[in-house]
């Protein structure tokens, strides 16, 4: 179990940059999730840690050791692949023990480790089968088993759940978390699914276009995104963004979303936003902070009225889509409270959860 350190990491394919200067410290036994849209460089970063991809520039340390030029087999890492990458001509047992056999471990030691891993993953019955006789979920377990038997310094997961159906994915997600609690080790996990990132990670690393946008714990990432990209990427349905103007209203500040919608900024944010007075900014609010009209529980909750566009019932809530100055806005309302499309409805917005973004830098203010 070791710390992993990425220092000014670069990767270019010919002229195309894939990773553009990543600095990241992954602590011992920490579960870190790299998340971002496809092409953001997360898998490339993982493959560079694994040694499957040449590093264009920068340094990677596992523990104290600089491993830039160390071949994958000597890095003491194990990896779980998206397509499982099980050897189809080997049985489950042979798949799991292949790495150990290559390392010439004694037979009884191999037996012991395979059995132990099989017990953890509950695949003891499958050891004599071949991969094609297994279901997707079982293959995924075997792929993890192959990693566990190695007892490596770090586990690398490359979108391990994306080939599973939705239900199994949720189940395996919980199991990966359980396994990490049992087999304490450093984990770097790559996914494009922000829900997976939120549920699994000790810390999330949001990547976009080859750079790290933000590194934070899931809750911190949700509450205080540092850029517009992170704000939009984390959370489902994603945050609403509206152009707005920040103006003074006597003693305080307010944002103007449209002719009819003027909202007061919470008093404790005024210092933060004062410099941006009279500027065109982007207003951000998550759907869950924009609800049907409710009894106010704090002074920063405000009401406004808007015409209902489209309704998307989710069961527990109904998503209400409306149009404010040409932008689609989603609110999350109690099913019984919603009006019919075309009718006006009263909404309550919780301004304590508002965000203001500088459209020039895309930074959250």
């Amino acid at each position: 179990m070791a710390q992993i350190l990425l220092k000014d990491l670069y990767k270019t394919y010919g002229e195309t940059p894939a990773v553009r200067g990543i600095n990241l410290t992954i602590d011992e036994n920490e579960f870190v999730v790299l998340v971002g849209p496809s092409g953001c460089g997360k898998t490339t970063t993982l493959r560079m840690i694994a040694g499957l991809e040449h590093i264009t520039d920068g340094e990677i340390y596992i523990g104290e050791r600089l491993i830039n030029d160390v071949p994958p087999r000597d890095r003491d890492i194990a990896m779980v692949f998206q397509n499982y990458a099980l050897y189809p001509h080997m049985t489950v047992h042979e798949n799991m023990s292949f790495g150990l056999r290559l390392r010439k471990l004694p037979k009884d030691e191999i037996q012991r480790r395979v059995k132990e891993a099989a017990d953890i993953l509950d695949i003891g019955e499958l050891l004599a089968r071949r991969p094609k006789q297994l279901s997707g979920g079982q293959r995924q377990r075997v792929a993890m088993g192959r990693a566990i038997v190695r007892n490596p310094e770090a586990f690398l997961f490359d979108e391990p759940l994306s080939n599973l159906d939705a239900k199994l994915r949720v189940q395996m997600r919980t199991e990966i978390k359980l396994i990490h609690q049992r087999v304490r080790t450093t984990v770097v996990y790559v996914t494009h699914d922000q829900v997976e990132a939120m549920t699994l990670a000790d810390r999330i690393v949001v990547m976009n276009d080859g750079i790290v946008e933000q590194v934070a714990s899931p809750q911190e990432m949700y509450d205080n995104p540092s850029t517009r990209f992170v704000a939009g990427f984390i959370g489902s349905p994603s945050m609403n963004f509206l152009p707005c103007k920040l103006t003074g209203n006597g003693s305080g500040l307010s944002v103007i979303l449209s002719d009819g919608i003027r909202l007061n900024v919470p008093a404790d944010r005024e210092g933060r936003y004062r410099d941006y007075l009279d500027r065109d900014l982007t207003f951000g609010i998550r759907p869950e902070h924009l609800t049907e009209q409710r009894q106010h529980t704090n002074a920063d909750q405000q009401d406004f009225s808007c015409q209902v566009g489209v309704l998307e019932p989710m069961g527990i809530d109904t998503m209400v889509f409306m149009n404010i100055e040409g932008e689609d806005v989603c609110a999350r309302a109690a099913p019984k409270s919603v009006k019919n499309p075309g009718e006006d409805m009263l909404f309550t917005i919780d301004m304590q959860n508002m965000h203001l973004i500088d459209p020039g830098t895309d930074k959250v203010l």
Binding site: A50, R73, M79, A85, Y87, F98, G99
Partner: protein, 335 residues
Amino acid sequence: MAETTAKTAATTRESASRTAEKSRTSWITTQLENERVLGYVLLTPAFLLIIVFIAYPFALGTWMALTDKVVGQPGNFIGLANFAKLLDSDIFRTAAWNTVFFTVVATAIKAALGMWLAVLLNRKFSLSRVTRAAVLLPFIVPTVLSTLVWLWMLDGTFSVFNWILRWLWDMEISVFGLVIKEDFGYIRGPNWLGEPSWAMGSIIMANVWRGLPFFAISFLAALQTVPSELYDAADIDGASGWRKFWHVTLPMIKPVAIVVVVFSFVVTFADFQLVYVLTRGGPHNSTHLLATLAYQLSMHAGNLGEGAAAALFMVPLLFVVIVLQLTYLRRIGVD
């Protein structure tokens, strides 16, 4: 009123003629829409070709092998006498042994070199597509044509190999006055097609040259179906280049490799043109194969019965090989 009646009559005539047309085409159409009928219809051309060009000659050959037929005369049934006579003859036993030796050695070399070439071609390098296409050339040139070129290259007097050998032998290499290689004087080079063992080697070489592209391209196609993640996984599991080949590549392409080897084995076993052009079975029958022997017996000597018997000897041998290898293929479970 009258106008309406005329119009109705015209419409009736039109629809009547359409119904007639429909009933004419409909029998064939209905039959062809029946999948069982259509199946047989589609099978017929291939079936006829097989009957005329494979089944009939095979049956005729089998019948002839049981007769003493010579050219120009109807034969009499003589049972297995032809086979007995052949088994008793030295030439036949030599030819049978030559065929097995030629096939096994040539196929083994083709498989080994083909695998090596395929692994090389599977790498990414500039002009790799052009190179892959170029590798196929020996396969595209008509065998007789390319073999005639081999004939010249292996010629007793004009052999280009011997010419190069002589040139290298005669050359004196010196660097700064220091003689690295002396002039070793005159060398003649082997008589490629004139000496028994050199002749066998030569026909194997020509056969390997011609058959290699088939192996290389088939193996290359198989190599490209191996998912790259398996190599990533093997890298992380700690496999070196050679072990990756042994534990991942080879098992993954085994089914294709077996089919390719069986196919090539059959074709090589029955090879005729190459040997006929290069040596005609000589010298001293040292390169006689079953195919050339059968040709010589039936076409040159006119003993059609005996020739057919020699050709038929190939069938059980090949049958055993094919059954063995296909059984193996089924056992390892190709999906």
